[in-house]
């Protein structure tokens, strides 16, 4: 059990380091896949079998495929070159992160289990889909339904954000989909298509 924890924990941290340090974004995403799979293994070692399955299916499956799609769609796998506008950001982030990790580790070792682990782990009933689903649909029914509404909003919002403006046949200027910024100022909302329409009107 301890050996499994050491291997999975090491894989998790190695994947995390690859994620934050890889120059190619695809490599970083693949490092995160490694981390997510190892975290799934850690869940399984903590009597959370349903969450382990969900982690692999939802996180390592669906979310990471979405990430890789967008990285390749935007051709964003090249690193950002050029000087960083914030001085010493890497050094400061490294120092801050080390301090934060140290503080978390010190805090973690002050934690004491309220009961022997063997008895409390048995109360989880293995964390199977049945056990988690029972809690989710009785005590946490309202959050569960709220999350389903949130997912619906996310679906509609994602479609609304990325749809292109529909060309209007009657000379009415096309409207921009919400949330887009004009290239220069970020404040001007007149669109290129509107300028084109005005130019055409002047020509006519």
């Amino acid at each position: 059990m301890m050996l499994a924890f050491i291997i999975l924990g090491a894989l998790t941290l190695v994947g995390g380091v690859i994620t934050i340090s890889a120059r190619n974004a695809v490599h970083a995403a693949l490092g995160l896949v490694g981390t997510l799979l190892s975290v799934g293994g850690l869940f399984a070692s903590m009597n959370a079998s349903f969450l382990a399955a969900t982690q692999v299916i939802v996180y390592a499956g669906a979310i990471m495929v979405l990430f890789l799609f967008v990285i390749m769609l935007l051709n964003a796998n090249q690193p950002v070159t050029g000087r960083d506008p914030v001085p010493f950001v890497r050094e400061l982030a490294g120092i801050g992160g080390t301090l934060l990790a140290g503080a978390f580790v010190v805090l973690a070792f002050t934690y004491e289990d309220p009961a022997p682990l063997a008895t409390s782990a048995a109360a989880l009933r293995g964390g199977t889909a049945g056990a988690v689903g029972e809690t989710l649909l009785t005590r946490f029914l309202l959050p569960f339904e709220a999350v389903s509404v949130l997912l619906l909003v996310a679906i509609v919002g994602a479609v609304a954000l990325v749809q292109r403006p529909v060309p209007q046949p009657d000379g009415v200027p096309d409207t921009e989909p919400a949330g887009l910024l004009a290239p220069d100022t970020g404040l001007v909302f007149e669109s290129v298509t509107q300028e084109a329409v005005l130019k055409e009107r002047g020509r006519a």
């Binding site: 301890m2 924890f5 998790t12 995390g16 380091v17 994620t19 934050i20 974004a25 981390t35 975290v39 850690l42 869940f43 903590m46 959370a48 349903f50 969450l51 939802v58 996180y59 669906a62 979405l66 990430f67 990285i71 935007l74 964003a76 690193p79 950002v80 960083d84 950001v89 982030a93 490294g94 992160g97 934060l100 990790a101 978390f104 805090l107 973690a108 934690y111 289990d113 009961a115 682990l117 409390s120 048995a122 989880l124 964390g127 056990a131 988690v132 809690t135 989710l136 005590r139 946490f140 999350v147 997912l151 909003v153 994602a158 954000l161 990325v162 949330g179 887009l180 290239p183 100022t185």
Partner: protein
């Protein structure tokens, strides 16, 4: 059984790694990947606490966090694509027009 403290320490280190990533990476997508690291670190801690207390509430919270992460990624990546169409960049240094 592996003590809860080891899982909590691992979760803290992973969270700090994610924070370093958020602070140092300069592409919006990479910042997102680092945020996923931090979410996973918190999930490890929640599952560890659930096992320590013998209460399934922690595991239920992790399930909801996963759903929130999925919604966040869908909306966030849609925003990144919308910005990329306008600006041809996802560098967060260039997207600082709202800076006060």
């Amino acid at each position: 059984m592996v003590p809860t403290t080891y899982y909590l320490a691992l979760s803290g280190i992973l969270f700090a790694l994610g924070m370093i990533g958020v602070l140092t990476r300069r592409t919006a997508i990479m910042v997102f990947l680092s945020v996923e690291l931090m979410l996973n670190a918190s999930n490890i801690a929640l599952v560890a606490f659930a096992r320590s207390w013998g209460d399934l509430t922690g595991q239920t919270a992790v399930f909801i966090v996963m759903t929130l992460a999925a919604a966040e990624v869908a909306i966030g990546l849609a925003i990144i694509i919308a910005i990329f169409r306008k600006r041809e960049t996802t560098n967060v240094d260039d997207l600082a027009t709202l800076k006060g």
